[in-house]
């Protein structure tokens, strides 16, 4: 029984209060057969990484619309590495200017999904790039 569902953490780091997108994504990924841990609004990087560690997720999906992505996302990637979870796939979505994307990819964000991305695209990316772990 090793064919387990992909486990994804959906979190909103920082101080913006708009979680509709994150909730729609969580629900959509549920319908894709994923197990989605939803931790909601106003997460510190420490909260996100604690949840990722305790839940042993394959993917961390971060939704951010506040403009603080260049501070929060590198910090989350750094903490994940410190905790021995460098293999976790990190993706981001929300309002992130194109010119910031290369720098985010440099620090460990695998992909940035902008407005208009379909749930099927997100799910396909996660399936393809989630870490292969020994059972």
């Amino acid at each position: 029984m090793t064919d387990r569902p992909l486990k994804v953490l959906i979190a909103k780091p920082g101080l913006d209060g708009h979680d509709r997108g994150a909730k729609v994504l969580a629900r959509g990924l549920r319908d894709e057969g994923f197990e989605v841990v939803y931790t909601g609004l106003r997460q510190t990087p420490e909260m996100v990484v604690t949840a990722a560690l305790q839940e042993d997720v394959d993917v961390v999906g971060l939704s951010i619309l506040s403009g603080a992505h260049m501070t929060l996302l590198p910090r989350i990637c750094e903490l994940l590495r410190e905790e021995g979870m460098a293999d976790v796939l990190v993706t981001a979505g929300g309002i992130i200017p194109d010119e910031d994307i290369p720098a985010l990819k440099q620090v460990g964000v695998a992909e940035v999904f902008g407005p208009g991305t379909s749930i099927a695209q997100v799910a396909a990316f996660m399936r393809e790039h989630a870490p292969q772990r020994a059972e």
């Binding site: 029984m1 090793t2 387990r4 569902p5 486990k7 969580a26 629900r27 990924l29 549920r30 319908d31 894709e32 057969g33 994923f34 197990e35 989605v36 841990v37 939803y38 931790t39 909601g40 997460q43 510190t44 420490e46 909260m47 990484v49 604690t50 949840a51 560690l53 305790q54 839940e55 042993d56 905790e83 021995g84 979870m85 020994a134 059972e135």
Partner: protein, 330 residues
């Protein structure tokens, strides 16, 4: 050997939270590594207080557990939570949303919260919840809360693996007739009317007390009793939001545990837990053999039943005798 189940168990016991987390994943996936790890951990388990928290959806179970964690941490006790949410019967997906109420403990190493999807298991738990609780127990957590999926009236499985079962009701739970129905309330050691800040809470608690006190004797302590006696649970009021009643609830949990951990604890409770675990594993093993070694036979038999050439009882007997000769599939 690095990577072995025993090694993983050793690391988890040594305090690595990442190893513990990976171990829980292996347990959920029922891998050979998990089995190896659990075998080595089992002798170290048995000292934690396993507390089941159950009740209807939206009753405030997660928020109440979060308040209990704060109270237990005040007494410097390490706390783990297994929070179960339902898996979709259609896609297998799940939304695990209980820890959203328990976020304030990030950074506290002695609080470990893990969500589990039920993965098709009925009864309010996931199929491997008992094993996950045993792993947390062996890793030194003093209290392990098991929060079930939001239950209806008959998802009572948690009572077979918990030392103490708490049923959480909201003030709008219904009238006294709900309190005399068979099912969930019967397995409660403690009933909490949560949201006591809401109107109607006192009346709901009074109604529950009146009906539950009709049990004619406290629960049986005779291990050889032929018929189990109904429990007579304590009814408490609490408000997870403002914290009132939470210290009293934790104290009541401790009293219940102390009473039941003592030597005169009904043996049947422990045996019942062992039985639930062994039966679960046995059923899994049989299913596994049925669909691996005996797959062709199984499919052929199912075809015959579907076509009404064979009745399902005869089919089960046929399979049982085949599988019974070879329970390990070797």
């Amino acid at each position: 050997m690095p990577g072995s189940g025993e090694h993983l168990a050793e690391e988890a016991r040594g305090g690595s939270r990442l190893a513990l987390s990976r171990l829980l994943t292996a347990i959920e996936s029922r891998t050979a590594r998990a089995e190896e790890a659990l075998r080595s951990l089992y002798p170290s388990a048995g000292s934690a207080h396993i507390v089941g928290v159950t009740g209807p959806p939206g009753g405030g179970k997660s928020t109440l557990v979060a308040a209990l964690i704060a109270e237990a941490r005040g007494a410097a006790r390490a706390v783990a939570v297994l929070a179960i949410d339902p898996s979709s019967p259609v896609t297998g997906g799940a939304i695990l949303g209980d820890r959203i109420r328990m976020q304030q403990y990030a950074g506290d190493r002695d609080v470990f919260i893990r969500s589990m999807a039920s993965r098709g298991h009925l009864g309010g738990l996931a199929g491997s919840t008992a094993q996950a609780a045993a792993a947390l127990d062996a890793c030194g957590f003093a209290i392990v809360f098991i929060e079930t999926v939001g239950t209806g009236q008959s998802e009572v499985e948690v009572a077979s693996i918990a030392d103490t079962t708490v049923v959480v009701e909201a003030p709008e739970m219904g009238d006294e007739i709900q309190a005399i129905k068979a099912g969930l309330l019967e397995v409660a050691d403690i009933v909490v009317v949560n949201k006591s800040d809401r109107p109607g809470a006192d009346r709901a608690a009074a109604g529950l007390r009146a009906m539950l006190s009709l049990a004619d004797a406290p629960e049986s302590t005779d291990p050889h009793a032929l018929r189990p006696k109904p429990k007579r649970p304590e009814v408490l009021l609490a408000s997870a939001i403002d914290g009132s009643g939470v210290p009293e609830l934790l104290a009541a949990l401790d009293v219940h545990h102390a009473r039941h951990a003592s030597a005169d604890r009904p043996r049947n409770a422990r045996i019942a837990r062992a039985r639930a675990q062994v039966e679960g594993i046995l059923a899994d093993r049989l299913r596994e053999v049925m669909w691996t070694t005996y797959r062709a036979t199984t499919e052929e038999i199912l075809e015959q039943v579907a076509a009404h050439h064979l009745d399902p009882y005869a089919a089960a007997d046929l399979l049982a005798s085949a599988l019974g000769r070879d329970p390990a599939g070797s």
